[in-house]
Structures are given as structure tokens and as C-alpha cells.
Amino acid sequence: MHDLLPFLPGQLNQVLDGITLLIPELYLSGLFLVILVTDILFGKNSGWLCRILACAGLVVVLIKDLQQFGLVVNNGFPFFNEMLLLHRTSVTFKALIDIFSIILLLYFEWDDELRSHTKKLSGLYAIAIAAILGLHLMAMSINLLSIYLSIEMVSIASYLMVAYHTENKLSSEAGLKYVLFGAASSAVMLYGISLLYGFTGSLNLLTGNMLPGLLHTNAMAVSLAFALVFVGVGFKLSFVPMHFWVPDIYQGAPTPVSAFLSTVPKIATFCLLINFFIPFLYYPKWDMHDFKLALSAAGIVTMVAGNFAAVLQNNVKRMLAYSSIGHTGFALMALAAFNDAGKTALSFYLVAYSLASIGTWMLATYFADAAKAEDMTSYKGLGFKYPLAGVLFVILLISLTGIPLTAGFNGKLVVFSAAYSAYQQSHYIWTLLLMITGAVTTVVSLFYYIKIPLNLFLRKTERSAGFASPNKYLLASVAIITILVIYLGFFPDILLKNL
């Protein structure tokens, strides 16, 4: 032990310094414990209490996040023995994660399916908070260990959330598929990590021997290792070919959970990717060509696969799942630009996308609760029965399609701009292809998004009975989201300035 003693004080100091940068996460873990305790103390009827606690706590966490803006510089600095890296983007993303999580946590209770769950939701909140903690870590981790750990944390939490509604056959089936697929891909990722470690003898991306070591090893081996690692990341981000699980799981899982899976983990994972690429970007001798190629190709294929497959869907949740795949592909375009504009564009796009998609999931719940409508065909004529909901649905879908005066359009615009500027500097053919594919798939996406307004308004329903009185709060929150979407459609710079 003598040979480590000299390092000890430095290490501990680093830990102590790190604590100050870790305040939101500490709050989160505290919150986790609190909710756990309430769950245990008050038994299974403490759902409402846990919910209040969770949301309140998240608000506090959010505040703490925003406070962090003050103490970060733009390119950020690592802490906790270079386990984590805190920079402006990660703080932003953490804040976004918290905001959306608050909405989603509120949303859990509004879903009839989950509310009718006999085991109550108190446990779910605890799991969700843990998942959010994992997401926070993902957004900051810069070390292979922390990356693996946070990803696993989020994954396990997600398995549990998907399978949470145990009475539901589909839910549990989805859980099984998810856990098997997830575990397998994380195993693959672990193997990749082990190779990376083996080639360089270090787990630390930012400093240490990682990049020089990789430069000195055989390129093919390195790329295999990266490929294996990206399997794990791609599983979270669900781009082709790691997207196969998405439709089944989103369809089977309780709708709020699907909403959760389709938004926040993506945000965190994108942040993780940004972190992951930072060292390679700034390391002089490293050639990014492979990454660019891989990302562009993945983006193109993902856009095509997601959007084109969505055209033929009849189940609304499944359709939304495919569309989320497509959007991931589009976001990859911003990432593949590899410039600051790309980062800004990416975050704005993610905000626009997440807002709209949460809204649409909520509306899917709304119609499922109101009229037992799961399929497009059962949406017939509901627009006249629930006009407000119908109109909101249309606006949100418009935003997802990317037609002006919605946030989605500005998102597409900035992403295109970023890709374009990247193209202007390096006339890199794949970037151009990305943009063209993006344009084409936008048209295709309209093709299936429009189906919902089509059924809502253009067709007449034959059924007259069986219309429940749906949840007011749900509708209200969707309305707020929609207003946000339109507001961002008019004045994107309000947000873009701060990203």
C-alpha cells in the first residue's frame, strides 16, 4: 500500500473539490432516498406524496443546475479524478433533462393504465429519480467506467419502468425483450471497453494514455473496439442497426414510460456522445474521418429506416416509435457536423423534438383514455368530438414534421444550417447526402404524420357510444407544451441564445 500513499491526499482533495460540482446529483440521490423512505413508510398509497416530493425535488435540482451555469467555462473541466466532465453543454442538457423529467413525472399519474396499476406508482417515482441521476451522470461522464456505469444505471431503471405495469401482458413482454436486448448489447459494449482498456491501459478519455495508445495500435482493432462500444451507446440512442427493439418496447410499455424513453435518455446520450468526441476533436493527430463517416451513414440509414417504416404503421404508439427513430437520425446530422453550431443546433433540435413528442405521447394517452383509441382507424372523427385535443395534436405533428411557425421547423433550419456550414468548409459528400436524405424523409414523414389529422378530422366516425370524459390536467399541460412549441417557432433566438 505504500506505493499509493503519496497520491492519497491529492486524490481526496480532488474528491472534495468535486463535491461542489456535484451538488445537483447529490440532491438527486438524497431525493431518491427520501422517496424510497416515504414509499416504505406510507406504504403503497403514498403515490401522490411521492409524486409531489419527486417533482418538488426535481425543481430544486433544476435550480441547482441553473446555478451551475455560473461556475462553468465553455470548454469545461474534469473532476472526480477525471471521472466526470462539466461544461456548458452538459449543464444545459442536465437542465433540459430535469425540465422534461418534471413534465413526465407529472404525466405518469395521468395515464389511466398506470393509475389503475394495483401496485401503485410510488416505486416508479423512486426508479425514475434513480434513472434521472443516471442520466445526469451520463451527461457528464468522460471516463469509460463512469460511462458504462451510468448507461447501465439508466438501462436497468428503464427495464424496470417498462416492466413496471406487471398486470399487463404486453408490458411484461416488452420488459423481457428490453432486458435481454439491453443486457446483451451492454455486454458487447463492455467487451469493447475492455478492448479499449487493453489497447491503452487507461480508462480515461480526456487525459492519460488513451488517445496516444490508440494511435499506436492497429487501426482495424481500434475501430472494432469503437464499433462494439457504439453498440451500447446506439442501444440507448436507438439508431440503426441498434433500433430493432424500439417499436416493440414503445408499444408495449405504458405510454408515459414510452414518452420517457423516447426523450430524456436520447438527450443524455447525445450529450455523452459530445463528451466522448471532445477529446478526439481536440487531439491534434487524430483523424475524425471514421467517426464522421460512421455517424453520417448511421444518420442516413436511420432516417430512412425510421421514417419509411413508420409509413405503414397503424398503431399510433408504434408509429411514434418509428418517427422517434427517424428524428434520432436527423439529430445525428447535427452531431456529424462536428462544430459549435452543430452543438447548438442539436440541443435546440432536441428541445423542439422532445417537447413535441412528449405532447404527442400525452395526446396518445388522452385519446386512449377518452375513446379507447389505440389505432389510427379508431381515431376516426374524434377531432370533432374533442376539438381542442385534435387541434393540439395537429400542431404538434406539424412541429414534428418541421413546418414553419413551430419549434420543429426552426430546429430543422438550424440543423440544416449547421450541416451546411460544415459542408461549406469541407465539401464532404456525406454531409450533403445527409441533408438531402433529411429533406426527403421530411416529406415522407408528413406522409404518416398526416394520417392522424386525416383520421381525426377528414373521416367521420360511425361509433357514438363509449366516450369517456378525459383528464383535464393532461389536456392543459399539452396546451402549455403546444404554446411553448409555437412560441419557439416565432422566437427561437430566446432559447438559441442560451444554448
Partner: protein
Amino acid sequence: MTMVKALFYLMGFIAVASGLYVAASRNLVRSVFMFFVTLMALAGLYVLASADFVAITQIVVYVGGILVLIIFAFMLSGRESLAGLQQQESRFISINKLSAVLLAALFFILMLNILLKTDPDHLQWVQKAVSEKNMVKSGDATVNNLGINLMSHYLLPFEVVSILLLMALVGAAHISRKEKSL
């Protein structure tokens, strides 16, 4: 040294062979048992890689935890399913299996290919470590070293894992809990 080498190859052989048996066998109980053997063999390999603490953990956690869990699961999921599985297994057309074999084989070839390309013993950092004597010798104990590292360098993951385990516990408990209202 030759002794160690021989031991290593033995262990390695056992691990791989038992793994293959698991893959091949149709009898669940046997395959689970063979899995147990594999884990043991791996533990041995860890020891030979002079990572005794890891070896212990392997035995404790895997054999004592995971394996037991799995067997319990079998018990809970009842025999009839197993029976059903077996004959369904036998009747299963092997076209799917073939493709799987192909895939696995290809991966294996790929990996071997890579290993040969980057011969790991002469990696730059390995050489460096050897030269700097920054390598675990077979004799010395790694436990305290590990302890210090866990408490200092890897403190954060250590804490995080605790939360993770707690969460997993709660969740697993929730899912497998019987609803009273049913």
C-alpha cells in the same frame, strides 16, 4: 512457470469446453451446472492473472448469488415449462442455429485476426509498464491497493453503484411482488 502455463491452459480449456457444452446441451440442469463449472474455471484464470480478489468476488457473487438466483428462477418457473422446452428444443429446426454458428464463428475469426494484428504483449503501454515495474507480480496482495483505489480514485462509481443496487432491489422486488388485490 511451465506449471502455471499448464494450469492456465487447463483452466482455459475447461472454461471454453464447458461453455461449449452449455451451448450444445439440451438439458437445462446440466447446462446450468456446466455454467457453474465455467465460472469456477474463470475464477481460476483470474487467479492466474494474479487478481485474487477478483477471483474471490467472482466466486462469491456469481456462484453464490447469480447462480443461486437462476436456479431459484428455474424452480419458480416450474418443471412443465422445462419439459416443454426440451422437446420444443429438439424439434427446433437448426437453420437458425446454423446462422448463429456462422455469426459466432465469424466474430471469433475477426477477433483472432485482430489479436494477431495487435500482438498485445508488445503494446506500447504494456512495455512501458513492464519497464516501469508497474505490473502486479504473482506474489503480492492486491487487496489493500484495491481498497485504497476504491475509496479514493473510484469513489464516485462506488457510491453510484450503491444507489444502482438499491434501485435494482426496489424494482425487482416490486415486479416480483404478488399483488394482494388479485
